[in-house]
């Protein structure tokens, strides 16, 4: 696979940027988007990634917040320098299970970058789910980038059986998104490790 952004290579530890697929719904087209995003993040020099699929997570639903932490997910969030959320827009909002999963951590997110990829069957590309997630990101201590991923008409963008991308323009669009995310991740990592509150 081609390697994007050789200038993003870091002299020390690689950046870890996991991708969270935020819906468990059967027949979800967001899975194709998440696979595509994961492949593009994995192609960046000096970046490691991993997919976290809310469908595969066994979070309790008779409690909420940090009381229901999953050790493996929390460890990954602690290691992360940035996150990518892939979220479909359901009734103009985000899937409740995505919020439930995100709320299971807090200190793990502080001063880390996040980019949001919205997915929709309609023409707006998840703009409303992205807008609705922004205040949540802020309260969790995450720092949002100003590039978004927007996948409108997702049923026309990927082959429904193979998941192959049918619209090549998304490669370049996502590169702009990941360029900004990596920049923010580097800056915030430097800040977390070196810039102290006086």
């Amino acid at each position: 696979m081609d390697s994007m952004n050789s200038s993003t290579r870091l002299p020390g530890k690689p950046l870890f940027i996991p991708v969270i697929l935020g819906t468990p719904r059967r027949g979800r087209r967001s899975e194709h988007v998440a696979d595509f995003v994961l492949s593009r993040v994995a192609a960046i020099s000096g970046v490691e990634t991993e997919l976290f699929d809310v469908r595969r997570m066994a979070f309790s639903t008779n409690d909420a917040g940090e009381q229901i932490r999953d050790a493996a997910f929390s460890a990954a969030m602690m290691r992360a320098d940035a996150l990518v959320l892939v979220a479909p827009e359901y009734n103009h909002g985000y899937p409740g299970i995505l919020k439930h999963v995100l709320d299971s951590n807090l200190k793990e997110y502080i001063h880390k970058a996040v980019g949001i990829v919205g997915v929709s069957a309609g023409p707006w590309g998840g703009t409303r789910v992205i807008e609705n997630l922004l205040p949540v990101m802020r309260e969790l201590g995450l720092v949002t980038i100003f590039w978004d991923g927007n996948f409108p008409n997702v049923q026309k963008t990927f082959d429904k059986d193979t998941g192959a991308l049918l619209e090549p323009a998304y490669v370049r669009r996502l590169e702009k998104f990941t360029n900004e995310l990596v920049w923010m991740a580097k800056v915030l990592r430097y800040g977390r490790e070196n810039v102290a509150i006086e």
Partner: protein, 62 residues
């Protein structure tokens, strides 16, 4: 202003960097003594270890 003493990382023993503070309202509900009356919740500090990347949350010290 006097420089704060660096927290020692419980994971690797390295010096941690204090980089964030946040008010935790639910913590103050669970433990009313932790509430800072000027903020209406428990004031928490966040420290990150440059060596092993561990982040620690603890009650604010000032």
């Amino acid at each position: 202003m006097a420089e704060r003493k660096k927290l020692k990382c419980p994971g690797c023993g390295g010096e941690m960097n204090f980089h964030a503070e946040k008010v935790d309202y639910s913590q103050a509900l669970a433990d009313p003594e932790s509430m800072d009356p000027e903020f209406g919740g428990a004031l928490e500090e966040f420290h990150t270890c440059p060596r092993c990347k561990l982040t620690v949350e603890r009650p604010a010290t000032d």
